[in-house]
């Protein structure tokens, strides 16, 4: 089966006053349709640059990004994005916020169908009853749930999550991990998750990619084969501990603390 996301030999440098600053140098990544890849790596290694490349918001200096057999040349409506900052529009209600992408992307849905879909998604993430509230009336975790709904409301093929749970407390974060699984079961997508949290990476993804320190290249790829129901206990099995150990070691190498 072909890969839905294919990143081949991507190099990119930012122009700074003191000369070019290379951030990505030989990045390889492929995610099959329906797959969910987590990208981990030391801070400042260019993970967010990666999301902007996949979203078509930037072009790499070298290399190619392919989505569904098409070379990415600019933004595509088949992509959904969520960030660490939920960026909800304060002047809109939660429901209106979730429906925002539908004002840009034509989905062939009637206004009524659009609203029904938005309400259904809000219900799915546990926000029913908050449709008409303003973002400022919601907690951080609830805002992030609403942001998640907005990122998938237009049925994107590719979902890009840039540390969406990074600013949440540990308990809220674990709740949202489970919500993620629920959403994925009902609304299939191919996803890339940028994260700092190794437990999050193996809990959510089926493939973990470790990037080296800046300039980043793909240093290590791990397939995650956690079996059975995904609940938090699953993170405390010997199998998970092994996987986490390997990843932790790889991060140390990426940080330049251990020899490869």
């Amino acid at each position: 089966m072909s890969n839905l996301i294919n990143i081949k030999g991507v190099r990119h440098a930012y122009k700074t006053p003191s000369g070019p600053l290379p951030v990505l140098d030989g990045l390889e990544l492929s995610v099959p349709e329906g797959g969910f890849a987590a990208v981990v790596g030391p801070s400042g290694c260019g993970k967010s640059t990666l999301t902007r490349l996949v979203a078509g918001l930037m072009k790499p200096d070298e290399g190619e990004v392919w989505l569904h057999g098409d070379l990415v040349k600019g933004p595509k409506s088949t992509v959904g994005m969520a960030f660490q900052n939920p960026v909800l529009l304060e002047w809109r209600t939660i429901l209106q916020n979730v429906m925002l992408p539908l004002e840009i992307v034509s989905t062939g849905m009637s206004k009524r169908q659009q609203e029904a879909r938005a309400r259904h998604l809000l219900d799915l993430v546990g926000l029913s009853g908050f449709e008409d509230k303003r973002p400022s009336e919601l907690s951080g975790g609830m805002r992030q749930r609403a942001s998640l709904c907005r990122s998938i409301v237009h049925k994107p093929e590719v979902l890009i999550l840039d540390e969406p749970f990074g600013a949440l407390d540990a308990f809220t974060r674990e709740d949202l991990w489970q919500t993620m699984h629920k959403v994925k079961a009902e609304e299939p997508f191919t996803g890339v998750l940028i994260t700092h949290d190794l437990r999050e990476s193996i809990f959510l993804a089926d493939q973990v990619i470790v990037l080296s320190g800046r300039p980043a290249k793909t240093q290590y790829v791990m397939d995650v084969h956690l079996t059975g129901e995904r609940d938090i206990e699953m993170l405390y099995t010997a199998e998970s501990a092994d996987a986490l150990n390997i990843l932790r070691q790889q991060i140390r190498i990426a940080q330049g603390r251990d020899a490869a």
């Binding site: 409506s77 994005m81 900052n85 004002e103 303003r134």
Partner: protein
Amino acid sequence: MTLRQIGVPLAALILFGLFWEWLVWVNGWPNYKMASPSDIWPAFWKFRGLFLEYGWDTLWRTVVGLLLSVVFGVFLGMIMGLSRTMREALYPLLVGFNAIPKATVVPIIALMFVGQHDMNTILIAFLISFFPIAVSVSIGLSTLEPEYRDILASLGASKFTIFWKIALPKTLPEFFGALKVAVTLAFIGTNLMEIVEPHGRGLGHLFDSGKISADYPLMFAVLIALALMGIVLYYVVVALEKVFAGWAERNPT
């Protein structure tokens, strides 16, 4: 509006008036030094026709000047907020222009457009009040977090759509903050023209004729009328803010 919201300011107003009256009485000030509220009422009544007519002159000129400020200020703010080069180019120019005391511009404008009193007055009201609007809109736009742009840009939305759906509404609270400052400034501008270059119209002219005929209570009455109009215009802006940017107000917890 609750009783408290009307009652408290009203009570404060009455107390202030009583204190003023008492102060003049206890010091025995003549009305050319300090008129008291009881001097001002008769002045209002005596010139009620002129107050209405000239008050209207001052009011509509101020409002038109302010509207020009809004249009031009938002336009300039947009240019400076969306383009870094334009911001760097225009900022010093704008600051320099704003630093010029507008009283010195009044005779220049009056010479430029001799006899066009309405236009002159509106022009000064406009020149004095567009600066805070331009600055606040440009700051609002240039400090828009990139993620806000990205949520729409990643869907292929045009620059205009992003501006219309996100940047513009997000800047509204800053805009209204500036408009509250601008509304008072526009008033100052209108009266500056009416007083420095008197041409027989507006409350400024009434003030001037009070000065010439040594009718001191009339001069004080003009000040009170200006204050009242200022309050009304200010609260019109507040009401508009509630409608268009009410979302920015947090409920007290």
